[in-house]
Symmetry: C2
Subunit: 334 residues, 2 copies
Amino acid sequence: MYDSVAVVGATGAVGTLILRLIEERKFPYKKMKLIASGRSAGKKIKLNGEEIVVEELKPEVFDGVQLVIASTPDDTARDFIPYAKERGCLIVDESGYWRMDPTVPLVIPEVNAEDIRKHHGLISSPNCSTTQMVVALKPLHDYGKVKRVIVSTYQATSGAGLAGTRDLVNGTKAFLEGKDYQMETFPYPIAFNCIPQIGSEKERGYTSEELKLLYETRKILGDDTIKVCPTAVRVPVSNCHSESITVETEKKITVEKARELFAAMPGVIVMDDLKAKNYPMPWKCHDTNEVYIGRIREDISAENSITFWCVSDNLRKGAATNAVQIAEWIQANL
Amino acid sequence: MYDSVAVVGATGAVGTLILRLIEERKFPYKKMKLIASGRSAGKKIKLNGEEIVVEELKPEVFDGVQLVIASTPDDTARDFIPYAKERGCLIVDESGYWRMDPTVPLVIPEVNAEDIRKHHGLISSPNCSTTQMVVALKPLHDYGKVKRVIVSTYQATSGAGLAGTRDLVNGTKAFLEGKDYQMETFPYPIAFNCIPQIGSEKERGYTSEELKLLYETRKILGDDTIKVCPTAVRVPVSNCHSESITVETEKKITVEKARELFAAMPGVIVMDDLKAKNYPMPWKCHDTNEVYIGRIREDISAENSITFWCVSDNLRKGAATNAVQIAEWIQANL
């Protein structure tokens, strides 16, 4: 049990949600520090009825802090995590910077909570688009061994932070009024458009976001033989990522078996009745903590392959909820 | 050369565009009839400077008409095409009703124009989501033989007709103003949402729209061994369908070769430079007649497999343009 807890990036899109989850889930702590960039320092935030003054991120602020939940840009995480670790903090980090470090466990509690025990002061929470896919893959992998995944994403603008949401909402308003709008974060208008690039160009024509779907999946499932063909696309949806996922397995998994495996997986809700028009949609899944699966079908183009549709709140299970779940596991087990 | 031409469904979303294309492309005719349902009969429409009174769809209206371009709901096409054929018309039909009839050629002029010669009075134009995919598949198939396609679509609301566009635009306005909106055509709100169902439930958990991507593809390419795993999704985009397509071929096709094959394919424009953020998007491709291909990559999950992103104006190449191109081919060759 760690009494002294800090949230770093407390004023961001994910940080704000982490605080809501701390209240909702009655996350245990005695002393809470809220930490952010100099820009937000001095702001007052109410948490569980207590007014807390946001402190500026710098080394001394971690003195006496035991457990940190952090959601910051990658370069901020690169800089502050070493000095927070030096001061003895155990850190749960939402950023992308440390995820592939071999000394850092990359954890989805429903999938590989026990990896937390191997930590050296830092545990990473996976990328939003990876988390929901791996929650779906886990029971299939355990039953039939996943060989290959083809995934196309339909990612919400909230994944690009508050500026992403502003670009969608204000850009859409401007478009409908026939006015110009200067994008803050996206390279092109996102209103009524799809942008087939998330992140920067990496190897062999794939983007950073796409390769996370390969490398993070392998690390979390502990299987470097899994192959992934990823396509990551930004769509004009405010919140909740959707994914069209096709999975080839060593052992055949029937639709009935897949439905049964998904239903038994913690953190998964199956919504799978096409006749009744029951399937996951961003509009329905917003502001919930689960991974939703529907449209489960046999892949009619291959043997031992199934295909399905997966939606999850990228700010919650894709970020804040997963980080808080890791911190809860730590509170309960370490 | 056919002098007496009629457009059926002249007041619909696709019909209106057919008339624009007839003007834009200087489509040859001496006498033009515009035909629609009783609701629109009597309306006056200007075409090439001539004011034409819309006539009601009924058998006698086809007397003396040689060539018909039609875009109507499936059940309208079911009913009127037999009596139009009886009166000696040659019909180019955009509807889904006759496409899989073995006596009816299903044609994309860049792909299989010669099939038009086998007609028995009726030629069908394929479904919008199929057309752009098959234009992309054709050069790959000719070079390396397509074995399997995995496709996830990002389909615009204009594919559901004028009511689809109203649901998107008015639904989005209402949402932004915090007001209620009663959907006309979609089963759920489409504003800032994705709906993983287009069409009705058919076999094995797939929808009618999805199975068109299988059966129409096989028919157009004349190869029943091609396998397709389709997922069709409606996204809040007003016009232009996008598709994430993975293609396994018998013979390996490198990225360079694929780019070369696409560039040489009539009707295709390659936009493929991730570094320069150059890739197809609905926003860019709207109101053009081509099929755009980008994000061309080797599929890192399989041998002899490539993956790419494909966008096209579903009302133009996906419907009106393709139908007019078929009619142009007929005018020039039959």
